[in-house]
Symmetry: C2
Subunit: 280 residues, 2 copies
Amino acid sequence: MPDGAGMILIDGQPGTSIPVLDRGLQYGDGVFETIAIMDGRPLCLDAHLHRLGAGCRALGLPAPAAGVLTTEVLQVATGQSRAVLKIIVTRGGGGRGYQPPRDPVPTRIVSLHSWPAYPAEFRSTGIDALFCRSTLALQPALAGIKHLNRLEQVLARSEISATDCVEGFVSDTTGAIVEGSMSNVFLRRDNLLLTPDLKDCGVAGVVRAEILQRAGTLGLNARVQRVVRTDVPAADEVFFCNSIIGIWPVRRAGDHVFATTEFAQRLAQNLVAAKIITPA
Amino acid sequence: MPDGAGMILIDGQPGTSIPVLDRGLQYGDGVFETIAIMDGRPLCLDAHLHRLGAGCRALGLPAPAAGVLTTEVLQVATGQSRAVLKIIVTRGGGGRGYQPPRDPVPTRIVSLHSWPAYPAEFRSTGIDALFCRSTLALQPALAGIKHLNRLEQVLARSEISATDCVEGFVSDTTGAIVEGSMSNVFLRRDNLLLTPDLKDCGVAGVVRAEILQRAGTLGLNARVQRVVRTDVPAADEVFFCNSIIGIWPVRRAGDHVFATTEFAQRLAQNLVAAKIITPA
């Protein structure tokens, strides 16, 4: 299956295109989720649908019923041994102009994509990461939501792809590290596990939430707080996470080399066993 | 012509839909222009195409040739006595993931929309405006560009539509007034004409640029600077502008009532005569 060539359901029907006047295109007026499919089953579907619903509420957009989305997700996921499934919900059609229609009819798009062929070493020995110059703006009204306004991430990815690094630390405009360009980030220092506060920007990842919940059982104290660049080399280990990459330990951040990926490896095993992420 | 039901050219061909995988939908990865059509002709087309090109460059997106866009705009505008024309340029298709394709093939969409039926009083006696709670985040990398990431404007318009006001002053997250929810804003105090600096956020409007250029010939000194909420009631008059509304003087801002719309009226006549905006 070439990337992006998988099955697509639009409002429950097979399709490949949406009206030009859909507000998802016109304004990025919608939200999305990216879900790992393993052996025909979506991982953490409830958590993804929960975040999707919360994003819809934040945008004042009527969320599709979880049951409807679940049916469509399972229909698309069936028979896929390993794939990426994406859900997009937009505010649907509307006249020209920013003002949302009074009674919007959201558009649901459930699409299947090939599993990305990342080298196995990204999970085992880790990746090299840069500190991006691209920044995230502070916008509490949209923070945490996986909405369709993703130009900041596009700019950050463009910056990373011009280097030999695989992921990058993206800071907000005040200099606080918020996340990776397509992932959340954690730092371990002794038995403390830190991840940036997302009250002003960033996407509140499903895997991030699972890690915060599980840290205690793995012997660490988790803390959500402001993280800055100097915290990275001061950490014992650092890793990125999302629903598709799973856990990528950081081998090198800028010119700092980390001595261990021990906790990241143990955490990844724990998350794989719990069917939060796929095996490498 | 019902709103949004006009002719649409997609990459030069009549069409109504775009692929789900277009990055314009997936990430808001593109730019747009909104142009007034009067007697079959687009107003300020060169200025709009210039800004579109600048936006493409800022996003690292190959801009369509101005000649190609001009041909398509004229084709769609022909025979329309009064209409709104919208150009969207996206980065086109691509795999799943934020990273732009190495050789993107942009999607061009030129669409026709009905002229909005705003009451004539909006231009003559003016409008009521509120101070929006919705804010604009500071993101210099995207400031000035008319890109497709417009959730902040959607939220601001939603806020305004819940009131009896027509437009609103939108501030950045530091409290500086940046623009209207769908327009730029000017304040006149004696012979000084102020408009907010857009280095951190906001859309650098085509009509705004024309007004800044023409202020001198109308006897005013124009200045681009930081504007805050208390500057509004301290002004002699205040007005919003864009390519479609033309000039809307503000009659009331919050609970402050303005005594005159004299300069705004004179400016509007000047811009109509120069075919920058349409007659009321």
